[in-house]
């Protein structure tokens, strides 16, 4: 259990700023995820905490004490890798025992703790196997046991699920979460998979090009994305770029009377709406922007149907319809009406693309 503070961390390689003034605090026992596209700096940040990268500026504090001068092997940090990094010449048990051996733990205790750790990841029967006899999922469980058996202060995971197939990914994801909860280890998890991040984390930090875009609980990030990038990266977002806004929030879009948004100030904004918030067909009671368009693609996926609608003289929008089998579906080429309820719209400042809060 440990609290981790990253203070104003920067790191550059020639011609590339990998981390740009990153500050964040991770609470003790928290499951904290760094999420972002590849090259956003998330792995570099993780490896800075592990001690495999040296930042140019800033410091890493664990429980308030700087660890920048502590070499990687003395940091007592567990690490799980994307490629498992299981030692191929050692048995499963010897892999798990490695960290205990390095710490000079007595033989008998090593055997006992190794056994317990393997039971914890449901590999009790495979202790004597060599890694090449194990599946990818099993190897990653060994890596997990090996990382937690030494009771590290912090557990770091670098895309541990991305080499596994979809079904295994979901299964192991839940196991990792349960294990972390039961052990209460402060965990920093790196992924580029937004769904994985939302499901597994207490809090998520979204990064892009070395900068932090937003830190928050998954539901907050989804409901109130801080930037247009976050809005599009986490979940899907329809974007109406650079829309003119009147002095009292009037939007001259679509047919009928201009809608009014609870916005004051900006004369232009980029508007966004999630596909599941778009209403297809008869306009609802709630006020909204009403648009007409032609269906150019229909995909039925059982629980939902996905429509692509080309708005006349406007953008192409996606609409997700729940329980589509309960009502007649719009056909390809059909003219339909779309309503974008004003209460569900997100607004972003054009240019810098930060979120503009609407008055409630």
């Amino acid at each position: 259990m440990a609290r981790v503070d990253l203070q104003r961390i920067s790191k550059s390689y020639p011609g590339l700023k990998v981390l740009d003034d990153v500050s964040l605090s991770i609470r003790s026992g928290e499951f904290f995820t760094l999420l972002g596209p590849s090259g956003c700096g998330k792995t570099t940040l993780l490896r800075t905490v592990a001690g495999f990268n040296k930042q140019d500026e800033g410091q890493v504090l664990v429980d308030g004490a700087g660890i920048d001068d502590v070499p990687a092997h003395r940091r007592n940090i567990g690490m799980v890798y994307q490629d498992y990094a299981i030692f191929p010449h050692l048995t499963v048990a010897d892999n798990v025992a490695f960290g205990l051996l390095m710490r000079g733990v007595p033989r008998r205790e090593i055997v006992e703790r190794t056994g317990r750790a393997l039971d914890l990841v449901q590999l009790g029967g495979l202790a004597a196997r060599l890694p090449h006899e194990l599946s990818g999922g099993q190897q990653q469980r060994v890596a997990l046991a090996r990382a937690v058996v030494v009771s590290p202060r912090i557990l770091l995971m670098d895309e541990p699920l991305s080499n596994l197939d979809a079904k295994l990914r979901v299964e192991l994801r839940d196991d990792i979460r349960d294990l972390q909860r039961s052990l209460g280890i402060t965990t920093i998890y790196v992924t580029h998979d937004q769904e994985e991040a939302l499901v597994i984390s207490d809090r998520v930090c979204i990064m892009r090009a070395g900068r932090v875009h937003q830190i928050g609980a998954p539901q907050d990030i989804y409901a109130r994305p801080a930037t247009l990038f976050v809005a599009s990266f986490v979940g899907a977002m329809n974007v109406l770029p650079d829309v003119a806004i009147g002095p009292r929030g009037e939007v001259a879009l679509g047919s009928g009377a201009p809608s009014r948004l609870p916005l004051a100030g900006p004369s232009r904004a980029t508007l966004g709406i999630r596909p599941e918030d778009v209403v297809l067909g008869d306009p609802p009671e709630d006020p909204g922007i009403v648009l007409g368009g032609v269906v150019t693609k229909v995909s039925f996926a059982g629980r939902e149907a996905y429509y692509r609608v080309e708005v006349s003289d406007g953008p192409t929008l996606l609409a997700h319809v729940h329980r589509p089998h309960e009502r007649p579906m719009a056909a390809l080429g059909e003219r339909v009406t779309l309503t974008l309820p004003t209460g569900r719209l997100h607004a972003f400042a054009p240019g810098e693309e930060r979120r503009i809060e609407m008055r409630q």
């Binding site: 592990a50 495999f52 070499p71 890798y81 490695f98 390095m102």
Partner: protein, 550 residues
Amino acid sequence: MSGRLRLDFWTVVLLGALAIVAALLAWPLSSILQASFLDNRTGEVTLGNYARVLGQPFFRTALVNSLIVGAGGMAGALLLGVPLAVLTTRYVIRGRHLISTLAVLALVSPPFIGAYAWIMMLGRNGLVRHLVEPWGVPVPPIYGFFGIILVFSLKFYPFVFLLTASSLRTLNPSLEEAAEGLGAAPWQRLRRVTLPLVLPAISGGALLTFVLSIADFGTPSIVGGPVRVLATTAYNLFTSEMTGNPGLASATSVVLVTLSMVAITLQRWSVRRRQVAASLLRRPVPRRLGPLASAAAHLACYAIVLASSLPAAVVVYTSFRKTSGPVFHPGFGLDSYARVVREVPHVISNSAMYSIVAVSLITVVGTLVGYILARRETSLAGALDGALLVPYVVPGVVLGLAFVVTFNVPPLPLTGTATIIVLMLFIRRLPYAVRASASILRQIRPSLEEAAVSLGASPPRAFGRITLPLMLPGVVAGLLMSFITALNELSSSLILYVGRTMTMPVRIYLSVLDGEFGPAAALSTILLIVSGAAVYVVFWLSGRNESALL
């Protein structure tokens, strides 16, 4: 890890390696380059040496001859190696392991064994000549182009065979299946899809045979007869007391190195933009041939490998024949071995000692430098990597001459010592060991070592506990291969030896020139047996991976 230069252990290793390269490659080679521009008598700077080498018919013939035997050796090796690779990887051939073992043995047998074994078979009193000529079968004279190219083809085809076969074995079979599905007949499939895809391997093997052929000294000087090539010319220019001319010898050497470099550039250029990813999941399955075709394929495969192992068989057979002095008698005995032990015991111990010392140095330095090249991508490491390409293109004769020119005088007078021979073996083979250990390391993911560090192992401990054990089989295999080549090295040792530092290959060469085939065969057999045993261990360590031998 930061890109800045810190004076840690690995930086010291890097600087040490650069110092080695400077002392053992840059310095000697620049001396020879310098000498090539100096007039022999006046000591003035001149282009006269080059004018003579490129202009006088005497030297031009040598240049042309080098190109002929290089191209001939390459063509022969392709003609034998490519079909053998295609047949053994694409069709069911019985005894495939035997075939590749025989090919590998041809590869590691001392290079000039072929030359004099073929003389014993096809020479004026040759066994085979006596056997077939009465039946009216014409046998061309072995001395000359025919002999040189025959020996090169049979000696060097295993490079083409092993490289091509390993590329064919990992070629994604879907590509060939797709060609078949699109209507390509077997021959078209081979010509239009399979061979173009393995072209980088084929041309890599071809290049290697060309470079080795023009660099080879022993073969043309034993079976060349009237045919002089650049390597023998440079050697004679340098060593003959009457007409010795270091300036001319140096210019000839520079021309020889230039040829190798041109060949390498051409090969790189021809395979540019050709990157075929190997398929590790699915391997092509050999097909069954019809009975007639199968018989023909077996005949072709076995004819090639048996022809190439014939010299070794002849040598072993000869070594056990009864002799008195240079005369062979009917029956068998250990006379030749007795003579070797009685007359030249020191060449055996010299060979063993020099090879062991050189290989120990190679293993330590090669592993450390390989680690730097694989794990530290700095500009200095890049420079080192480039410099280590040099021994691939510099023939043994040339480097031998360069060593003599450089280390004959202070500050480092080494000529006539065992040290100079060991240093030569060391620098000639070091790049291969560096490459081998770097490529092994690139297969060991750095995350393994990091995981060990994060689990509490200090970096040296993590290297010792995790990386080193994983590298070990590859390192030992590389060590044994270096040992074989060090043991069999002729050309540079021939230039550097004095009586008391004579090695087995030098003794064999001199015995052959004297017509003393018995002792030569006995020494060759000893070399063959040691090399074969080393290969056996390499196979055992690398799980029968023949590419570990290259």
